[in-house]
């Protein structure tokens, strides 16, 4: 076990695509943590989805050894954090487990909003920041300008910025040396009662849920009886160890160490990121600060395309939940879609990831309904109801008010796009809080915006009004009263519950019109007229009509046409069997999927 002075715990702060994974790979290679023959790009991103999208979804931790020029051998713990706003709580816990952070900035891209918000988190936690200018070998690198941005932001010296290239390996040695020289060793009292911070958990089908932790004070031994302070549950430490490319069991871990603990926990729900591990006998006086119950922000219905697959879907969601405790779900029934689940997600990316993992890893064919955020409804009787689905909304006559979540959004862009962004944010019911020039060429705008407005098409719109020159980050801020209405979509007078949505009153008409128009494009013409209506209560606010199919007959039906036509019609009939029926109208699955892509 290394002495505390020889331990360095750090994380890497970077924007997507700024080269975090590649640089991490180089550190692993240089310290021989990973043999060349086992080297695979983005070694730390274990999910295919992470490798493909180039983002880190789960936190990871890995230990490496480094022989410093002072002749001493140091133990490094690299804690890789998720790289997206949806996971900012997890990021904050990973940061809390470190003394230092490598701030990685792409020399041709400059500083992005994501980087800044995570950097602020790191600074708040008193982390030592090592700025690294990455990809300096690229022809498009703007070394001077981006260096200036970094110096302005950190208030450091130009010489403190290390030039690096994950591709060529430039700067790797300098970074490793700087980790020893600049990042402080862990502090803490080895003799104090055990206090360890859980910063992540993983699920292993043989060993159950495994917690990753950092010991702030005290020490832990194999076989100890431990308590998780926030859940109050007690376990025996069946196995503890350190995280290298594999889990290496240890007898004891001390203050400053990063490791894992296996206690036979069956469900990862019991392991809450941010919780504190202590001893049952001689517990610590208080839990580590900053613990929060992660609450889902966005809700959507997930339904199997084929209703027979309902149980399969449940099974798949349960398995996903073992891995991802932030996913919540409960059964939901829809007239249009049958049996499915109301699922809660941390944000839109999280929703996207769950959807994709269901398809890829579990081979599930699903329909996802219009997502909505979580609202609070207050009845005239003074009850407070949490609304996760449009059907939960109390009748307008019983309703006193509704409150919606507001987020604080940071956008970093070029000054020339300020106007466009302001227009977009106003349209999204946002208010500008501050405008701050990071450099002459980069400006940071802070807005308060209802989360519901971000759920729909905000990212795409932001990208298009700034030609991609904007980065975006947000944090939940507060709940504020909102004039919400429940918008129903009706086909020939029959409501399609799966298409109902909660929208702001000022947006209802435009939204209703959009959905009606989109449905008109997506629904196949049928042998009768189809009226598509958007309604608030009994009031129709938008309408489209699909005329009846007047002619559905093949022109030629001779020799070879007969077989071809029969097969075609049989195929169509099979396809139609899979459609959902609302009243007399058949709706293809694809329509449900596509109607939500409103832009």
């Amino acid at each position: 076990m290394p002495s505390m002075e020889k331990i360095r715990n750090f994380c890497v702060i970077a924007h997507i695509d700024h080269g975090k994974s590649t640089l991490s790979d180089r550190l692993l290679e240089f310290t021989k943590t990973i043999a060349d023959r086992d080297m695979q790009d983005q070694a730390l991103d274990s999910m295919d989805l992470e490798r493909e999208r180039g983002i880190t979804i789960k936190s990871h931790a890995i230990q490496m050894y480094y022989n410093h020029n002072d002749g001493e051998k140091y133990t490094f713990n690299l804690i890789d954090t998720p790289g997206h706003v949806d996971f900012s709580y997890e990021v904050s816990r990973s940061i809390a487990a470190c003394e230092g952070a490598l701030l990685l900035v792409d020399a041709s891209q400059g500083i992005q909003a994501q980087t800044i918000s995570n950097l602020y988190l790191a600074i708040e936690h008193d982390l030592e920041i090592i700025p690294i200018l990455n990809k300096v070998d690229m022809p498009s690198a703007m070394i001077d300008e981006v260096t200036e941005q970094i110096v302005d932001l950190l208030g450091c010296e130009e010489e403190d910025v290390i030039h690096a290239s994950g591709k060529t390996g430039l700067g790797v040695e300098e970074i490793l040396a700087a980790i020893v020289d600049r990042i402080p060793a862990p502090t803490g009292d080895p003799k104090a009662p055990l206090q360890a911070l859980i910063f992540d958990s993983v699920f292993n089908s043989f060993r159950g849920a495994i917690a990753y932790f950092r010991i702030m004070n005290g020490q832990i031994r194999k076989g100890d009886l431990v308590r998780f302070v926030n859940t109050g549950k007690e376990y025996k430490a069946d196995e503890i160890g350190v995280l290298q490319m594999d889990q290496i069991p240890q007898k004891m871990l001390g203050t400053g160490d990063v490791g894992y603990i296996i206690t036979g926990i069956k469900e990862s729900k019991e392991i809450k990121v941010g919780d504190t591990i202590t001893h049952v006998d001689n517990p610590c006086e208080e839990a580590i600060h900053g613990f929060e119950e992660v609450k889902p922000m966005v809700f959507a219905g997930i339904f199997p395309v084929d209703n027979d697959d309902f149980e399969d879907l449940r099974d798949s969601l349960e398995k996903l939940q073992l891995n991802d405790a932030s996913l919540v779900f409960e059964p939901e029934t829809s007239v249009a879609l049958g049996f499915g689940f109301r699922c809660g997600f941390l944000g839109m990316l999280h929703l996207d990831i769950i959807q994709e993992r269901l398809t890829r890893e579990f081979d599930q064919n699903v329909i996802t309904t219009i997502p909505n955020v979580s609202y609070f409804a207050y009845t005239k009787k003074g009850e407070k109801i949490t609304i996760h689905t449009p059907t939960d909304m109390p009748d307008p006559t019983l309703l006193d008010r509704v409150e919606e979540p507001i987020i604080s959004a940071q956008i970093i862009t070029k000054p020339e796009y300020i106007g466009n962004i302001m227009t977009l944010c106003m349209e999204k019911r946002g208010t500008l809080k501050s405008q701050h020039y990071l450099t002459q060429y980069r400006v940071e705008l802070t807005f308060d915006i209802p989360l519901a407005e971000i759920v729909f098409d905000f990212y795409d719109r932001l990208k298009s009004v700034t030609r991609g020159y904007a980065s975006f980050d947000y944090h939940p801020d507060s709940y504020k009263p909102a004039d919400l209405v429940k918008l129903d979509i009706k086909l020939n007078g029959e409501p399609v519950d799966a298409l109902s949505a909660l929208v702001h009153r000022t947006k209802a008409e435009a939204f209703g019109r959009k959905i009606c128009k989109r449905l008109k494009e997506l629904l196949p013409r049928q042998q009768f007229v189809i009226a598509i209506q958007a309604a608030i209560g009994a009031k129709i606010i938008a309408r489209e009509t699909i005329s009846a199919l007047r002619k559905d007959v093949t022109a030629k039906c001779y020799g070879g046409d007969i077989t071809r036509k029969r097969k075609l019609l049989e195929k169509q009939k099979k396809g139609k069997k899979k459609m959902r029926q609302v009243g007399n109208v058949s709706i293809p699955q694809k329509a449900f999927l596509d109607v939500l892509k409103l832009n």
């Binding site: 002619k551 007959v553 039906c557 001779y558 077989t563 019609l569």
Partner: protein, 337 residues
């Protein structure tokens, strides 16, 4: 090679179609007929049809055909208006269309059929009426009229996809189909198949056999054959087809593929083809495929009878004029999967 496919039946019709058989020279034509007569026994008054484009029917060609066993010509007129012919890339002009009808009638071909196309954006209703009227005036005894359909992988399909040509509207085609049905009825033509109209005694023998489930043998690349239980289709690639014919099994090429029909498929084909014709679908025939199918049919057909899309007479069901516009939809609804 497949002379026994029709198990020695006497042939009632011979049909030269697909592509442009009017390109055949006198020698080629007589070689083919010699081979057919040597191989099969042919009914004395068998219908022998040849498809021709107006621009191919030169006076010489007409004479050659007149001296051959061909006794019925199917002429691809399509339209008598230049706007249409140009839009569809036809090689002939409106004037050639008129001249060639006169020429073949003068040569003594009286059993003629002509193709017309309707529903295109280039064809206003007045032109469509005029197209039909011309053929009536020429006393052509048989007409095949097809709604313009935009098929994938055709020039028209490409243009429509690219937005260079406006896609035909089904209201337009539906209205012109109704005009057609009305004019044909007024002039004594029977609407004996969705796209085919004929004076009595002039129903196409050959094409009717497709719809009545008779057996047939297709010769040439891509040609389909049917013997009651199975359908087969020749390889469509021309060089491969020629190689397979010349070298037989040694070529390593399979000349045709065969598919045996299940009872459900037989029933579906009967519904698909039967409903399109004046002969309709009879409960008796459905029972003969499989007795259980009758109940399914009776149950499914009911709503269509109520909507007046179908009618029943002597346990046989046919489409009404309204129903004819939705034949595919109705067939699919009656299908068994």
């Amino acid at each position: 090679m497949r002379s026994d496919y029709l198990s020695g039946d006497t042939l009632q019709s011979i049909y030269f179609g697909g592509g442009t058989p009017s390109l055949l020279t006198e020698k080629e034509l007589s070689a083919i007929f010699n081979q057919i007569y040597k191989t099969f026994s042919i009914e004395e008054d068998a219908e022998v049809t040849l498809e021709a484009n107006p621009d191919d029917l030169t006076p010489e060609k007409v004479q050659i055909l007149k001296n051959s066993p061909v006794n019925r010509l199917s002429i691809g007129i399509q339209s008598f208006f230049e706007e249409d012919l140009k839009a569809w890339n036809r090689a002939h002009t409106a004037a050639e269309a008129i001249a060639c009808i006169q020429r073949v009638q003068d040569a003594g071909f009286e059993n003629l059929t002509a193709d017309l196309i309707y529903g295109a954006t280039t064809t206003p209703d007045e032109h469509w009426v005029e197209n039909i009227q011309r053929l009536i005036d020429f006393k052509i005894p048989h007409l095949s009229c097809y709604a313009l359909t935009v098929e994938e992988r055709t020039a028209l399909g490409h243009f429509v996809r690219k937005g260079r040509v406006e896609a035909p509207k089904d209201e337009h085609a539906a209205r012109q189909f109704e005009i057609l049905m009305k004019m044909m009825a007024e002039h004594g033509y029977d609407h004996y198949e969705i796209s085919n109209f004929a004076k009595s005694g002039y129903y196409a023998v050959h094409n009717s056999s497709y719809w009545k489930g008779s057996h047939y043998l297709g010769i040439g690349p891509g040609a389909h054959s049917f013997n009651g239980d199975s359908r087969s289709w020749n390889i469509a690639n021309n060089p491969k087809y020629i190689k397979a014919i010349r070298q037989g099994k040694q070529s390593g090429i399979q000349l045709y593929e065969t598919e045996y029909l299940t009872l459900e498929q037989k029933y579906n084909e009967y519904i698909l083809t039967g409903l399109r014709t004046i002969w309709g679908c009879s409960l008796e025939h459905i029972r003969s495929i499989k007795p259980e199918f009758e109940a399914h049919f009776i149950q499914k057909v009911q709503p269509f009878v109520e909507k007046n899309w179908m009618q029943e007479q002597a346990k046989t069901f046919t489409l009404t004029q309204k129903g004819k516009l939705l034949a595919d939809y109705i067939s699919a609804e009656l299908f068994l999967l």
